[in-house]
Every structure is written in C-alpha cells, then in structure tokens.
Symmetry: C2
C-alpha cells in the first residue's frame, strides 16, 4: 500500500475521533491527497492538528464529498487520487449508510476502496458489482486469511525479543506508542519491527492479521503466526496491543494477543485523565498498580513479562508542565519510566527496553 495517493473518509470525526485516518497520516507511506469530512469541508488538515502532528503530517484539503476531493486533487489516477480509504471505525465496525455515495463515486472514478470495517466491502452486493464493472479493487484489510489455526505456544522460540503494548482501555494510544517505539528504536540502530494487529496498524504496515476479526479460538494463534514469521528477521518485535484486559467487550482479544505473543516485556499505555471505560462509562478503570499486577500475573504462566515502561497519551492535556506531572504519576503507578511518546518522544521507553530486555 506504499506510495498510493489516497483520499481518507472521516466524516464528522476528523481528527479527534478518526483514529485510523490520523494513524495512516502520521505513520503510513501513503500520500494523502484529501480528507472527506462534511462537517469541516473547506478547511485544511493543518487547521485541526496540534503542533507536533502538524510537523509530521502533510497538509491537505478537506472536502465534503469524494467528487469534491477529486476535483481538488486533480482527478483520479497517479497524479490525483488512486484510492479511497475509510478512515473511521464506529463501535461495532459497521458501514454507515451516509458513506455509500462517496464509495460509489470512488469506484465509478476508477479508484480502489480500502476499509478495515467488520462488514466487508466485498460482501456488499452493490459495491462488489460496481467494482467489477469498473475494474477496481475493494480491499478489506480486516478479512483474515485462510489457514489460521490455534496457537501452539511457540512464540517464545524466536530469536527476537518481543515487547507487547498493553492498555488500560481502548483508544489510549497503543498503536501510536507501538509505531513511536519502533521508530525511536530504529533511530538508535536497533533492528525493530511492528507486529500489527488492528486495521490501522495493518493499513500502515501493509501486512498483518486483523486479530479482532479472526475466529475467537484462533486469537492467540493469529498473533503467534506473525511472531514466528518475523521473529528471526529482527532483534526486537513490538506487538500492537488491543483493548484492555478488563474491557467488558474486548478483553478476549487483549488476552489472546498477550498469550499469543509470549512477550519478554510489556509497555502499559494509558490516557491522561481517563477514569472510566471509553463508551462503557459505568465501568470504572482500576488503579494503575492493579493493571500492572493483572497483566504480569496473567502473563506469567505463559511468558514471564514485566511492565518495563509506560506510554501516556496526553493529547487532551493543555500544557507540557501538566503533561509531565501526569507522566510522573504514571511512573509512580507502574514503578518504571514513562513518557508521552508523541509529545515528548519515545526515548524513555526505548531506554527501558534496551536495559531491561535487549541487554537483560
């Protein structure tokens, strides 16, 4: 998926609730020609980004419809737009009917459509027929490949050290932390790679098993498969975690990733100020030390892994000083170094991984 020129659909959610869009813009190789958001159409991407993001994400126009985006970008094809990427994922992962006109327009313009939804574009009769007529591809990155199976408990055999990001909740920045840790490790010459487990990670990396969409019995097995595939090619694998181990809906996926990856160490990811489960507000989050105990004791019988560092998402914290205080609180809770890898860089985490894991 390198070097494509894409439009990213993020209606009414850009940028704060458009996790996939923002992830691809930050870390993907694709060139973003336009964003579709009918609410902020007429503005530009940089009008909505915090400083740290604006420094790394290219600016692009925001359009109300795919046809408008096409006009702004100079038409379909190599100099304009190659593909439409669905950059938002509602709870449940369904396709919103209000996006259909844009998807039709993209197909009719000869552009591929790429999505990571639970409902597959290829199983949508209208889109499948239209795509065949226009000779374009519908790419469902959340459609697992055939041939997955149950884990054999073998991920611990690989040469690479394996670090797993784990979270206090969904949407606390596990994917972002994973990307930042690998980038910072590479900057110091460590041969590190991402093990992508979710749609955004897969869209960025161009490969990976969509762990939340596999048969539940194969959850750990689908992670193990990736570890075994990459584990002898690199020195450090950082596994993109999902959900949280106490999430009322998603803990199964979290647990399967933890045991399937058989990690050597864990990085606990948290969002500053988060007190209840996102979207399940009647469930309070446990205290940070409880998460450390839970993740470590749950991991221990399968793989001995300690929480060696923390990643705090402080995007909703106004100033650096307050953010630093919040990072210090997380450090107290986990009794290990922490940072906001976006705001302050991932150095502190990579330091901990080097001393506790790579040299350990």
């Amino acid at each position: 998926m390198d070097d494509q020129r894409i439009a990213i659909l993020a209606h009414e959610m850009f940028p704060d609730r458009a996790k996939t869009a923002l992830g691809v813009m930050r870390y993907g190789d694709q060139e973003v020609a336009a964003v579709l958001d009918r609410e902020t159409a007429g503005t530009r991407v940089h009008d909505h980004l915090v400083e740290s993001d604006a420094a790394t994400i290219d600016d692009a126009p925001i359009a109300a419809t795919f046809d408008d985006a096409l006009e702004l970008a100079g038409g379909p094809g190599d100099d304009g737009i190659d593909a439409l990427l669905i950059g938002i994922a509602p709870i449940g992962g369904g396709l919103d009917d209000s996006w259909r006109a844009d998807i039709r327009a993209a197909i009719e313009a000869g552009c591929d459509v790429i999505a990571g939804l639970h409902s597959f574009l290829n199983e949508d009769e209208e889109f499948a027929t239209l795509a065949a007529e226009h000779g374009v591809d519908l790419v469902d990155v959340r459609d697992p490949h055939e041939g997955l199976g149950v884990a054999e408990g073998r991920a611990g055999e690989v040469d690479a050290d394996v670090v797993c990001t784990v979270g206090t909740d969904c949407s606390v920045g596990k994917m972002t932390a994973t990307m930042e840790i690998v980038a910072a490790a590479r900057d110091r010459g460590i041969d590190a790679a991402v093990i992508p487990t979710g749609q955004t990670g897969i869209l960025i990396e161009g490969w990976g098993n969509p762990i939340d969409r596999v048969i539940s019995d194969f959850t750990a097995g689908a992670v193990e498969e990736m570890i075994l595939e990459k584990g002898d090619e690199h020195d450090l694998l950082v596994v993109e975690g999902q959900g949280s181990i106490v999430h009322p809906a998603y803990s199964a996926v979290t647990c399967g990733i933890l045991h399937g990856s058989m990690p050597d160490a864990l990085v606990l990811c948290h969002a500053a100020g988060r007190e209840a489960v996102h979207g399940y507000e009647s469930f309070e989050l446990p205290a940070i030390p409880e998460y450390v105990d839970l993740y470590e004791s749950l991991s221990a019988p399968v793989a001995d892994a300690d929480v060696v560092a923390g990643a705090l998402n402080t995007k909703d914290v106004a100033d650096d000083e307050t953010a630093r205080a919040a990072v210090a609180d997380l450090e107290d809770g986990i009794r290990a170094p922490a940072t906001d890898p976006v705001r302050f860089g991932a150095e502190a985490i990579v330091d901990a991984i080097e001393s506790e894991v790579l040299e350990g």
Copy 2:
C-alpha cells in the same frame, strides 16, 4: 434435537477421548442407537464405562462403520437411526478424512449429520451436494448465527444470578460440572438453566452460541446475548466455561466468557493430578490459589465474583478415598467447598451457590 435416534462417531477415541460423545450420552435427550469406533467394534458401550456412567447411560452396540451400525440398529428412520453425530473433536477442530465414508453412508441412508467442528459440513462440496440429493440436513452447531456483535456490558442487569464455571485447563470437566450443578439445583427446586458455550453443551441443550467460533471481537457479546435472552426467565444461570485463563491458545475465549457473562460467582474446575497444560506440556499449571487470585482479580473490574466452590474431575483416580483426599486438597487451595460432581454429586457446589449467591 430431542428424541432423535442417533449414531455417534467416535473412532479410536471412545470413551476417554470422546468428550462430545460422552457428554451427549450422559446429558442429552437423544437416544443413542450405536457408537462408531473401529478400534472397539464388536464390544458394547457398557464394556467401557465406569460404574457411575453405566448407571445413567444406556447401553448400545459399537460398530466399525455407519453401515454396520445401521444394520445393528434396524435401518434408518424413526425405529432405527435418524442422524449421525460426530462425537469427537481433534485439536484444531478439523474433519478427519477417515470419517468421510461414514458421513457419506449416513447421508445416502437418508440420515442427517450433526457436527460441531470448526470446518463446516455445509461448506464441504461433496457432502453438501450429496445431502441436497438425498434431502437430508447437515447441521453445523459451531456455525454462529448472523447478527452477533460486541458486548454492551449489560449481562449484570438480568434478574437471575449468574455462576460461571472456570477452569485450570481445557478438558477438566467444566461442561460436565455445569450440567451436574444445574441438575442438582433443579432437584432442589431451584429454577436453573445452562448457558451453553461449546459444541457439546449446544448439542445437549439444543441451543447456544459456539463462543470459540465467533469473531474474536464478539466473544463477550455472544455470551452476553445468551444471558440477556435467558436471564429473566430463570433464577440461576450456570455458564459453561471454556479453556483456561492461562492457556497458551484458548485464554481469549475464557476471558471473553468471564467478562461477557458478568458472573456473581465462579466455580473453579480442575482435574486431579493435572500438572501441565493438556497438549502443551511445556507449560506448567500455576498453583490453585494463583488461579483463584487471577480469576477473581480479572473479573473484579467488570463483575464482582468470588470462587465459591470447586469441581474436581477424579475420573483417573482409582478409589473413592484417594478421590476424597484430592477434593480436600482442592478445598484447601480455593478456601471453599469442593466435590467431584460426577463421583460424589454436585450437592456441595449447589450448597455453596445457595448460601453465597442465591441468598447472598
């Protein structure tokens, strides 16, 4: 699936490794006309059963092939055999090629075929074509219904008290404990029901979601759906657990069932003498108190549930005295009453559920 006359395929595995076959024979309403096991063909079911099973399971002939079974049972149809049930499930859940001749013979004789395998009969071209020709049904009980989704965290809202069986490993007797607890509770006049989560439970109860076969993101949701459906019709729901929370391959399913059912109490199931994960012998089982801590601390943020009783599978223990000593050890480990529900009855568990949950 009531009142069917079935043959049960259990080649080379009856009875000790034929968990599904034995479960259906013990607890199902189906009448078993014959068992297929080419290794013990010519003997009878009662030749292989322990005393407690022989008292509750009807005797039947064991045949080498479906055609032999048909002859022994008096032909197909209401007075002979209505259906062939696949009563064994290899690791991975695939269909063994050596079973195909029996499945073909059953279809050609006009019998339905019922299976709980990961690979579906209905997706097997040969069987699907043959079944259509002969007007018989291929029933894949592990094929989840459409319309499952992510959990909403609502299982705690139902009127019924919910007890979840949890295990130290696979194949320790969680399904059996569930059936025995519900039967013993009903004997005392408690309006209790099973929430089946695996193929055997579903075959016995005639309904249920195959939790290990749903999309991993929907694991908890598929349990929650069943709790919400039955939770206002009964006073006690006993959820059939799966796997173990420290299983290298299956912990995701275990975790999803725990959080999706939002239990009021847990019953810890263990097999006497088990020291390593079944089929994954390099992984030692943690000590019993560690399981109690893990299950309770993992449950707490979603639903406050203590381990109130233990169920010990002592089928490999020769005499009652040794079995009682093993039960006492489990009681020490969990600091709560325990029993082998098959060998000694489930009374001690139902006592604990009554005092700790129903009257609690």
